[in-house]
């Protein structure tokens, strides 16, 4: 897993609530047996019309917006547990997703792929969203060590929460498998004495 410490970038504003993982990556793209290539299909049915032509109204197709931060509406990543959604977002080049609420499984999947979910308040989110929409050059800084997200050039910043263990994992690029495999002795002892 890639390490994450701080990131300064412009952002893409996805001003939609309840973005579900079926929209992030439609089921018909789940037939792959590896993790590659999902970035090309992210938000496929919003980015392209059914005939394959680009949908100019979708924000990803507006060349004024770019960057490795995705700023999305409330309740991002609900629905299916497909980790393909996280792979698709990472594959497209995002390193941070900002929303005022994340679905549980998506949040875990993101963290397991070095993608940082930054949960902010509704007020901060709507302010951030409108700043980006009105000025696509708006620079945002995410500092994991200090757990802050700030809009550069404004006095707008907020702290975000992340559990200490996950934070350490991201900063060092470790994942849960490393941790669990190192605890096999304890796990075997548990198996030997479990009483249910």
């Amino acid at each position: 897993m890639e390490k994450f410490t701080t990131l300064k970038s412009t952002a893409i504003p996805l001003n939609i609530e309840n973005v579900d993982t079926d929209q992030i990556i439609p089921a018909r793209f789940l037939k792959a047996t590896d993790k590659k290539g999902f970035g090309d299909q992210v938000f496929r049915d919003w980015r392209y019309h059914k005939d394959g032509s680009e949908n100019p109204e979708f924000v990803f197709n507006d060349s004024s917006y770019s960057g490795s931060i995705l700023v999305a509406g409330n309740n991002f990543g609900c629905g299916s547990s497909r980790e393909h959604a996280a792979w698709a977002i990472v594959g497209y080049g995002f390193k941070v997703v900002v929303s005022s609420f994340f679905a549980d499984i998506f949040k875990g999947n993101a963290l397991n792929n070095g993608l940082l979910p930054v949960q902010v308040t509704d007020i901060f989110l709507s302010d951030l969203m409108s700043k980006i929409i009105s000025n696509p050059q708006t620079q945002i800084e995410v500092n994991l060590k200090r757990q802050t997200i700030s809009v550069l050039g404004y006095d707008a910043y907020e702290n975000f929460e992340i559990d200490d263990y996950k934070k350490t994992c991201l900063i060092n690029g470790y994942d849960d498998i490393d941790y669990l495999v190192n605890h096999k002795t304890q796990i075997k002892a548990f198996e030997a004495q479990k009483n249910y």
């Binding site: 789940l30 792959a32 629905g79 263990y165 498998i177």
Partner: protein, 462 residues
């Protein structure tokens, strides 16, 4: 001794250790279910890192998401689906994992076949790379969906690193009205609570409505817990649960079973135990439900009108569905009906449908797919004579699988068409690009297929 919830009891019995005082906990997983779509990358991950599968005998595999529902005895036509299925077979063989592959008498949707085989047991922990793993909570198990990285973690250690979720209890008491099925109960709850009220929580369903439900009904309810954001749902195990589990293939037998039952009886929530959040509903307020939007929280009583809301997401949803605020869905012509998915593809669901359909004919404009959840359900449909009822009415009984629930196989609803579906998600394009899903119970779905339009089932029944 402090009072504990059902969830606390099962969770605490499975904690191996904690990272530190407030950190995540190592939770032991009793049963790991896998299928073709979310497992291949996890197998690759372990192989790349040279880590063996820790407890292959605690894993059960099936093929369901990507499988055709016709001609299952023939080679799968779609090359990508075929490759994924072959990969699953290879991975299971290589690692000594039990696989009920396509065509096997125990094959089926993972959340239908595992309970049928007795893999699902009260008081246990179960995971699967599929969000509707919450279904198994109907037995008083802690069961939840995980991502593929977590599938790899369980492969490697039979454990997961998790922070204990908060607790939520939804109680429904009273008498359900005629024609109100378990699906209506859960659609009603979600329409009241919204799609993210349960996020961060594990939900217990309590009250006489759930106590009186069959295991099939309880599974329908727990299945959709994820649609209000909860990681899982649970119902306290009782005599109904024990009777269902008894004598199934993987259930404990004889004295062993009795000992287990004695333990399972200790699991229900202690009187006075504390929940972080509680909701109460009156069964008499629930009516047959239907959804009009693009998330499962957008549900109304079948006779109600679509509410008005000015938020962009709401308007976008209505635009996608081509519905307007203030209109009713009654009399809307419908061309597709799907009875299936891990929410409603058990024998009871087909009995409800057959009872309504018997002696009637499917409307000419309707394409109706009846897709059993498993080979065992399929066999039971035939054995009970329900297939004859369906055949005579012009319905097509297909072979088991996820089918039009997520349209990964050929069972897709065409662009712009409405489908009254017994599945669990009405997201944009869920049943095929541009398709429009209306969630409902198997009774409402059967009635729609017969009438060719949505009808007020309550009026009809009275």
């Amino acid at each position: 001794m402090s009072k504990k919830t059902l969830f606390d009891k099962v969770w605490d019995a499975h904690v191996v250790s904690s990272v530190d005082d407030n950190g995540p906990q190592i939770l032991y997983v009793d049963k790991h279910l896998i299928h073709e779509v979310t497992s291949p990358q996890a197998f690759n991950e372990l192989e790349d890192r040279g880590i063996p599968i820790f407890r292959p005998d605690q894993i059960v595999a099936t093929a369901d998401h990507n499988t055709p529902t016709l001609n299952q005895d023939q080679p799968v036509r779609d090359p990508l689906s075929r490759q994924q299925l072959e990969q699953l077979s290879k991975n299971c063989k290589k690692n000594n994992i039990t696989l009920y592959e396509l065509g096997h008498q125990y094959n089926g949707i993972v959340h239908v076949m595992a309970p049928e085989l007795g893999v699902t047991q009260p008081g246990s922990t179960m995971v699967c790379g599929d969000s509707h793993t919450s279904t198994h909570g109907a037995f008083g198990a802690i069961a939840f969906g995980i991502g593929t990285s977590q599938v790899a973690q369980v492969f490697a250690s039979q454990c997961l690193l998790l922070t204990k979720p908060k607790s939520l209890r939804v109680s429904v008491n009273g008498k359900l009205k005629k024609g109100v099925l378990p699906k209506d109960v859960i659609l009603y709850i979600i329409s009241k609570l919204g799609t993210n009220s349960g996020t961060g929580y594990f939900c217990e369903y309590a009250g006489n409505v759930f106590e009186d439900m069959s295991m099939e009904g309880r599974m329908t309810v727990c299945n959709m817990s994820i649609e209000m954001g909860a990681r899982g749902g649970m119902i306290a195990p009782d005599e109904t649960t024990f009777a269902y589990v008894k004598d199934r293939k993987f259930a404990p037998k004889g004295k062993d079973f009795e000992n287990k039952v004695a333990y399972w009886k200790t699991l229900p929530t202690d009187k006075g135990a504390n929940f972080d959040k509680e909701y109460h509903f009156d069964a008499a307020d629930i009516e047959p439900m239907i959804t009009y939007g693009t998330n499962p929280g957008m549900g109304i009583k079948i006779s109600e009108t679509i509410p008005a809301d000015e938020t962009p997401s709401f308007k976008k949803a209505l635009e996608y569905m081509n519905f307007e605020a203030g209109e009713r869905l009654i009399n809307k012509p419908i061309n597709f009906v799907f009875i299936g998915s891990c929410t409603n593809s058990r024998i009871e669901d087909f009995r409800v449908a057959a009872k309504f359909i018997k002696g009637k004919k499917k409307a000419d404009n309707v394409t109706a797919w009846l897709v059993p959840g498993s080979k065992q359900v399929e066999a039971q449909i035939i054995e009970e004579g329900l297939k004859t009822v369906f055949d005579e009415a012009g319905f097509e009984l297909r072979q088991p699988g996820c089918s039009a629930c997520l349209a990964m196989n050929d069972d897709k609803i065409p662009q712009g068409q409405y489908c009254v579906s017994t599945s669990n998600r009405n997201f944009e394009g869920r049943q095929g690009q541009g398709s429009r899903t209306i969630l409902a119970s198997p009774l409402v779905a059967a009635a729609t297929a017969v009438e060719g339009k949505i009808i007020d089932i309550t009026k009809y029944l009275n």
